[in-house]
Amino acid sequence: MSLALREKLIFDYSRPGRGARGQWPTVPAGAAPEAVPAGIARRARPLLPEVSELDVVRHYTRLSQLNFSIDTHFYPLGSCTMKYNPRACNAAALLPEFAGRHPLAPVVHGQGFLACMYELQEMLKAVTGMRGVALSPLAGAHGEFAGVAMIRAYHRARGDLARHEIIVPQAAHGTNPATATMCGCVVREVAVGADGDVDLEALRAAVSASTAGIMLTNPSTLGVFERRIEEVARIVHQAGGLLYYDGANLNAILGKVRPGDMGFDAIHMNLHKTFSTPHGGGGPGAGAVGVSARLLPFLPLPIVERGTEQPLYRWLGERELPQSIGRLTGFGGNAGVLLRAYVYMRMLGREGMRRVGEYATLNANYLSARLQQIGFEAAYPQRRASHEFILTLKRAEQDYGVTAMDVAKRLLDLGFHAPTTYFPQLISECLLIEPTETESKQTLDAFVAAMAQILREAQEDPEQLHGAPHRLPVRRLDDVRAARELNLIYQGPGG
């Protein structure tokens, strides 16, 4: 954490007449503003800051120093796979030829880029066991949309028009039911058993001639592997539905077991999780989708194909894929993110890919074991952790009035980003912890020491926890006021 604990708004640096003039282009002589017809011309300048280049660089550098990030802190945010983002990936994606290439440029000016995209499709097929891959969806939820839209298109193409229900387990990511709604489906929740696996009786009762499909994460959001996945697949397939795999937790099983082999028909992969492209403070992501044979005709556009004549690589569009669910992006997808994922996969290769799942799982099980040894309670102590696991602070809440939120905020004081809190909602006072494979044993041990201190404080000095964080740029923020007295933009000097 930096010395700068507070930074005014960029607008507060503004002085009339100042500007980053080195950035302003020369307007060629005899040019144009008069060409904008008066009726549609802007009358007053927009309120934008008037600042120097140094103002901008210093302001945003200072703001950056108010953030926790992977580069500065251990960031064990469950379900988010906050692993190290290798710098080579960024350097390669920003090579001037890649960064400067127009999305509608002719394919003869993109054979290098398209070769990367084609090989990325092939590698993703190999690690997931799917038959086809499309790279265009722009994030996980966008990939989910593509997947459910493909499932709907499949049923529709067979004249099976009554299938409008999507089944999701109770503990699913919020995007799953939201996606089903966006695709015009009705959501049906099924219960999860005490062991963390889907309740098969409940599933059998839920499927019907209205079932379009089921959306599952495996390992589930509870941090355990769905052991009866083949039985789940059989039940859903026999009812005429298809299986959708939410790839948020693919990191856990990379190289160990493949969604295609488990019986899934459509999947998305979060390349910004499993394949280590940066999260950028909220995005961008990339949510490539994969499908089994029966959904191949419905993949979203465009897809890269390798032919036999020059130019070797080209885009496939509507003409070649007339049954496609269509175009879901302005252009071909988050190409810069896809290039980063491609570089990451090439660096890891076959051997490295297997080690991802192995060491992510080793780290999670080690951290889970150590935290239980010092007195924390795991939600599923009888189960193997996958790449993440859940602690429940139910007892601490009852005994000392200390909540999961208190622990999370105190961790920030001690120099660790908090785990995911209060998700899944099924488990009360929970922390969902995902260390990832790129963290060392020494970092995990330091985290355990911090958790031990917090446990001591819970017993001896709970106020220390209720009031946390104490050492950050701000203390706990008033979310109620934020929502009640909406202040969403700077209104101007004195505004």
């Binding site: 060629p28 945010l77 949309f145 592997f225 006021r481």
Partner: protein
Amino acid sequence: MPFIPHTDDDEREMLAAIGAPSIEALFDEIPANLRLQSLEGLPSGLSELEVMQLMAARARADGRALCFIGAGAYEHHIPAAVWSTITRGEFYSAYTPYQAEASQGTLQSIYEYQSMMAHLTGMQVSNASLYDGATAVAEACLMAVRANRRSSAARILLPRSLHPHYRAVTLAMALNQGLRFDTLPYMRDGGHMSLDSLAVHDGEDITALVIQQPNFFGVFEEVDALTDWAHARDTLVIAVVNPTSLALLKPPGEWGAKGADIVVGEGQPLGCPLSSGGPYFGFMTTRMQHVRQMPGRIVGATVDADGRPGFSLTLQAREQHIRRAKATSNICTNQGLLMMAGTLYLALMGAEGLARVAAASMARTAELVAALTAIPQVRRAFARPGFHEAVLTLERPVAPVLQALAQRGIQGGLDLADYYPELGAALLVCATETKSSADIDAYASALSEALRSARAA
């Protein structure tokens, strides 16, 4: 092992703490028949040196052409300070700012972004970005259906002069929810939408009218009259705008008597590299009365426990992680880092710099159109004025001409044959401030030659 720090000792001690004999044993809950023996079809790993050599060779194969393509993605100069600052690890490798106390840098930046976009578009609130311009139009249509309580038709008017990819994405995303779309024609002489063509919809229940300014052809629309027509019929107006153009054009908040209701567009021109189509960012602004119908994240200013100012995500009850099946959208990850690029770009440019970018781009396009239409048989398709793009017609198919230009390292524009066959041999061209008179001359003489040799062939 790339990016895995474990030593043999670490591994041994960790397994001992777990009480497991091997890493393999940690996977014993996965049914044995599903366990993968090997990863066929994947190459062996490369060192950083090897992979960078490979990528450099691939990049060289693509080369750096002289680009006169626009069509929704525009080559503008990106100040060096933009990407050197936003790729700082503290921005680059942070997650969505759920833990507000540990994310004030990202949160304050989003608040500043929301402010800039609201002022640029003349609206009251902005979200923290959507995926891209195309999905932003789709989200705006879905939002209009929620926001327009006087309409029950879920029916949207889409101009044929809207970017064809935006139209395709909107249909692909919104048809599943039962929205209906009608197409509005453009005038063959001017390339704009005529108020007369809307008359067939008088008396109908229309939820929203989409207006793109400038439209896909680069042509200016009569936004005031179109907006007033819509509002007189309780129809909401969705404005689709190019953010650069707003330095010179009337902001949507001032269209007609009441202003547009929802404003969306592609943020790429603001500091995002062309990068073969992404990552870019979609933006969306609206009026305060519709804020609860808006998709995506929103940041608000508030105070902390000591009463000191700070920022946090707000109105989260609209979002999927709280509202699940009843959320305004399924969007979760957005385009945060690109929104940061847009923020730094706007801060560096300011209103004056952005106006100069817009004016220089208009001037270069005018220069380009003059140079190309001086060639026999090259004409301008539409008579009305526009921004930094124009449609030209040739007297022979465009595709082979573009191929000939590509061989000379010139990307001559977008062939409209597949999108607008009714225009004949039509080509959409663009020049921004990045093009010099010499570049334009090079294009004109290459085109002239390509047409000459095509005639001779």
